[in-house]
Chain length 273, copies 2
Amino acid sequence: MCELLGMSANVPTDIRFSFAGLMRRGGQTGPHRDGWGVAFYEDKGCRTFQDTHPSSDSEIARMIRGYPIKSRIVIAHIRRANRGRVMLENTHPFVRELWGRNWAFAHNGQLRGIKKWRLKFHQPVGTTDSEHAFCWILDQLRGRWLKQPSAAALDAAIAECVRKLAALGVFNMLMSDSRALYVHRATNLVALTRRAPFGAATLIDEDLTADFARETNHTDVVTIIATRPLTRNEPWAELPKHELAVFRNGRLGASGAVVRAKSRSKPKLKRAA
Amino acid sequence: MCELLGMSANVPTDIRFSFAGLMRRGGQTGPHRDGWGVAFYEDKGCRTFQDTHPSSDSEIARMIRGYPIKSRIVIAHIRRANRGRVMLENTHPFVRELWGRNWAFAHNGQLRGIKKWRLKFHQPVGTTDSEHAFCWILDQLRGRWLKQPSAAALDAAIAECVRKLAALGVFNMLMSDSRALYVHRATNLVALTRRAPFGAATLIDEDLTADFARETNHTDVVTIIATRPLTRNEPWAELPKHELAVFRNGRLGASGAVVRAKSRSKPKLKRAA
């Protein structure tokens, strides 16, 4: 299995603190030694870093830890290979263009039989189940709309795709089109929203504390999604299972998005045990 | 205008020496202050780094200079903006997937009226002429073949696309599909092939010398393409103007590729003045 880290924020935000915690799990405090990757959105631009080295021992990860890239949406992934060899083209997040926007995708889990699902417009470069699933989602969207539809229509279509994919196995997913962060929990995904009044937080995986009160404005809203809580002293909440959660500007379903394939109710975050 | 750097090699090769020379031209020994980017192929995988900061003052460029990424194909670009604002999504190289391969593209020049050319499958994310031209090339190829054609057919089709684009203005181009490096010179592009017996070379833009005899095997063939020569004491040759040059494994037209749109003769490198 792998671990995921995502961020949705209403202002460009430096994710280095959370990233530091995740990177330790890539071979040091966790077993995810088979590469890692991260996509940072800067407006419509998308900057990705990927490495087949363990993140705890990666030059590129060290550089990112020292470099304050500010982003409103981030998707990161550390990999423990189950399908697909340890190669650059099998490293998440995967990125594709659709409707003039950069889409990024990271996945934790297995999807039995996905490779039999036919693809038309987008083809995988590598050999993972995950990239095939991502190409299939984009194919469904492109086949349905030549241009970008409304946010509500798009959210509903993605929820429908995700429901079909989740039936194949374990589908913990982070995906973005540079505007929304789409999140699906099958097994483990927790969320934490930081907003005023901001306090301090200490990482679980490293002796590192951040005082967010010093680095933020009172209007900032920043939601972090992770496979397991990254900090000791904050109220991480489990995301609802088997539903698509859509974050915009740090908020869950802020656009009134349909987040279930078959209903219009918004999921509620449950406090993590 | 901008400057380009490309590499085609028959073994994974560390391009840091040439990269160091180019990066100095991004704001220090040259005026190209509006961002830079580089794509490194590792088999089918493609790793890109991009930055809107001048390359001579970029943390990411410094990290790459210290990190021996070995690649058989590299495409790099430093930008002086003429069309399109200085933003991440306007930073070359642009990357797209076609037929399950990563395509990367960088361009120096202007193409008048290109934005009126209609696109179907691939859409630009940013606002540059260059990305539009890249999307148009990929559209032509995808519209013609659902799956990857033979190398000869592909080379001929790309030569035809490039000929049409070059009629719009200045089209110095580097492009790759992870197997070949496609090069088109409109104004300035020079090439240098390093092979046994290897010697030493000194950069023009920095007091840095490399002794390739110590770092290579006698079977290595490495061709470097650049807007202007990067080293003082090597025989850089001008590429033929207005023809598509196709490099595979460090060699020009090694597959017997068609490199002109309308003829089958191979271009010859002319010694630079």
